[in-house]
Symmetry: C2
Subunit: 342 residues, 2 copies
Amino acid sequence: MDIIEKDQSKENITIHDVARALGVSASTVSRAISGKGRIGEETRQRVLQYIDENSFYPNASARSLAKSKTYNIAIIMPEVKDLVDMPFFHTCMHGAEEVAQVNDYDLLIVTTDGTNIKPLERMVNNQKVDGMILTRLYRNDVFVDYLKTTGMPFVAIGNSDDPELVTVDHDNYGGCRELVGLLFSKGIKKVAYLGGGMEQTVNIKRYEGYCNGLKDAGKMIDNSIVYTDLTSKLQVSKAAGEILKTGTDCILCQDDYICDEVVHYLAEKGVEIPKQMKVASCHHSKLLDNYPVTITSLKFDTMDIGRKACQVLLSMINGEEAEKRTLLGYEVNLKESTQRTR
Amino acid sequence: MDIIEKDQSKENITIHDVARALGVSASTVSRAISGKGRIGEETRQRVLQYIDENSFYPNASARSLAKSKTYNIAIIMPEVKDLVDMPFFHTCMHGAEEVAQVNDYDLLIVTTDGTNIKPLERMVNNQKVDGMILTRLYRNDVFVDYLKTTGMPFVAIGNSDDPELVTVDHDNYGGCRELVGLLFSKGIKKVAYLGGGMEQTVNIKRYEGYCNGLKDAGKMIDNSIVYTDLTSKLQVSKAAGEILKTGTDCILCQDDYICDEVVHYLAEKGVEIPKQMKVASCHHSKLLDNYPVTITSLKFDTMDIGRKACQVLLSMINGEEAEKRTLLGYEVNLKESTQRTR
DNA sequence: TTGTACGCGTTATCAT
DNA sequence: ATGATAACGCGTACAA
């Protein structure tokens, strides 16, 4: 147990060491590794074998410097205030990382609120990354504005009208529209809507889906049961309270955190789901599985959106023509919370 | 709106550009920036001003290569299976990132299961990072074993007997011990214990805290109401079912995900908390706030553990003497779930 | 105080 | 097919 066997780490061997040991030049070694440029098959094998046996690995910084590529990408995460928001962004992150790893890229995380571009500037100015993923998209997005001036490749998760922007998103619009249609087809008469901040494009799309779902069913939008820009729990429960007085038989929640609050509020008031009020959510999270009543909701594959975003970004970095718009599908999960109660 | 104003990005200016423009040498510029080496105050100011006005930023790869430092650290995250596990690791991550940013370091995320060291090898071999944070610590930890052979600085979040290891942890042992004491002081007679995999050191420490809490109160350990290595929800609820037959009046859950299952199981069986059974958890998460009954639990500042881990790591990287053991405090939150019911 | 020269480890260009 | 040689951008010992 006293055998000292560390310090093999002392010095990583370089391409020159390999060259010297094999009696060839450094450039030959480089060619053997990269596969670029003409090289004899025999020497190629010799180099590759030596490299393998003596565990040579190229130095990332040197490679970066020479190629002007970092093999890093950054993912911009919002400062998370609420527990319910975390799963989305972090699952995205893991999806992006999965794809990055496979492509020998590394993922560098950057947390910032919706206004502070300082951390991005550092990345860009110091050339620490080859591209960026924006996990959230605002209507007037300072990150987008900034990145556009830099030439740094980036993709945003979300929806935008800007034709220059490369985005990846779930089909929030289509999903909500279909969900609303299904609600009416189950005999529901009046669907109220509770939504959060309209400065986020995802919320706009869901709201539009709701509106068109109504239209599809030949219903008019009743502004007395439509709430947007609800930012606090208190506002949500207050809105829910108002809705209770209107003879509405279903509340559609724009997000799971709103749904969370609604469910708690209704329980507190002794309003039974689905008997006295039906409830659905435009976004599923595992949080919703924790209620005594299972909740009808749209389900998006969050990991997949992270993967796709990373794939699109990598193709941009590699100079390929990337699709400007990627729209991912959804599932509608019909559960107890909207069940007909005779 | 047709004004084209990008492509200021075309070329980042270098230290040489600055030198030439100012009629000094590149090394003078370098000195002005780093502050190292003697340099005239006047020229220093001249350089700094020029740099500021013409927005020069050093190239990270070049700096890395020259200094043999990457200014990156990696954080190793487990593959997350369950929602309840996510908050801990991700909050840690944000804490670490906060400290990293302040010190001009970047945080690079690496996800892997408990056995695959490949992603770490890549980091080490290619010299992409200056150090690593292990967010989870196993009893026989392959990551630890590997990293020890490399000379790569690292800290682990968790507890270890290995005197060489640098760890940062919450005082799980002390917290659980105190919690158990408080339970007895509230008139509880028998405290059962439901725990998960004992290959994780955190779970061992909590179990030890439980045992010593019993001893403090002069109680014997009753193995018929102690369960460890519960890995599935089914096992948890089955164990809870057994416990119900033993006249136990309190269940102590090793973690919030176990508590989650216990609470649901009891609700399903119509067992009222705290009237018929009291419940406490060795770890708080916001998930617990979602129950109709608030749950007594230990609360740890997860963000802070991430911060501390990063601080310790950075001091190691900078060659300072780092504390081998950092133990962070806890709060005991007494809530409804253990309230005396006359 | 400042400039020169070289090294960091790799890739790419140009000869041979 | 292979080998010099320069370049990538910055830091630093040494010289001046």
